[in-house]
């Protein structure tokens, strides 16, 4: 786990995403190879956008309630939340550049 990302669980999910600061939630699991590819880019993005973006990792094995509430059916899935609402969703691994571009609307 990167040093710039946080961990979110079923228990604190609602409070985490209710923030006005955009929160990017990474739905992942230990057995998911493509999820591991995202670890480095997500940690860097979190570090570079400290204060502007929270990056939180949610383990789908341990947090089935949140996973099914958001209909996650493939991982890695990244969902950006703001003020408790889902703003955008990305399914599948992607490069840091691609993700940074996709997140640009929320990083101004």
């Amino acid at each position: 786990m990167g040093q710039n990302t946080t961990t979110v669980t079923d228990a604190d999910f609602a409070s985490t995403i209710s923030s006005d600061t955009p929160t990017l939630v990474d739905f992942w699991a230990e057995w998911c190879g493509p999820c591991k590819i995202m670890d480095g880019p997500l940690d860097e993005i979190a570090g570079e956008n400290d204060g502007k973006l929270t990056v939180a990792k949610l383990n789908v094995d341990e947090n089935p309630t949140t996973m099914s509430a958001y209909g996650v059916m493939s991982i890695p899935t990244l969902i950006i939340f703001q003020g408790g609402e889902e703003k955008r969703r990305f399914v599948g691994a992607r490069s840091k550049n691609q993700l940074t571009t996709e997140l640009s609307d929320f990083l101004s």
Binding site: W31, G33, P34, K36, I37, G71, V91
Partner: protein, 306 residues
Amino acid sequence: MTEKVLIIGSGPAGLTAAIYAARADLSPLMIEGMERGGQLMITTDVENYPGFPDGVMGPDLMEQMRKQAERFGTRIISSDVTSVDFSQRPFTVSVGQDTYSAESVVISTGASARWLGVEGEERLRGFGVSACATCDGFFFKEKELLVIGGGDTALEEALFLTKFASKVTVVHRRDEFRASPIMADRVLDHPKIDVLWNSVVDEILGDTLVSGAKIRNVETDEVTDFTADGVFVAIGHTPNTKVFADQLKLDEAGYLLTEPGTTFTSVEGVFAAGDVTDKIYRQAVTAAGMGCQAALDSQRWLHEQA
């Protein structure tokens, strides 16, 4: 700065080439691509890679190879190559705005899962359409699933999915499996698996989530709407050669052509290894072997140029 050896791709072929080139003091640069580690990253147990009597998880095996390549000085860039120019030397390889120059290149970009190309497939990817049972099977507990294909991969996926699904139906366009007999028997004997022979998918149905598929019997042309919560596509692989298509000779299926018994492509100084050039064996261990050959071929070739 011109690299001695630039390696494109980071599966067993690319990483083995990197290990050999690095140990030969060629300080290879690897452009690993977004599908880092290749197909083994979406494989669970690997039971046939020598040296692991108890099996090894695909992602773990690839992580070990990557560490081994890095230990000897391989430098790694985590992006996809966007274009190449092999028409003059040194060769150039571009990743977006960044351009790298290299005296020799090893191509080991592997192959990626092929899609059906039918209506609904792309729109519902991640919402019930998948090409990776090990990635996504977990999300289909007690669901009814379709697996499309009849080769070893399709049947492995079908068997794997029975761990989660209540029912798995294999849709295959022929009247017998292409897969190995042992896999075929396991599937045919499995209480949770049904097979629709001589059948193809015409469309994947569903509004925001997969609800089923239109399946056509190729003998009778009869079309039925089949209810399912997920569709797993396993109809084989396509070599990742698009970016090289106008620079190197490919066969009719898109695989890079090499001189028999070597890793030489149609351009001197450009070498190919692994699934990008191999449509026969396609194993982790054969890819690793070819990666070794490519590193040795490039080393020898560089030496001759000097």
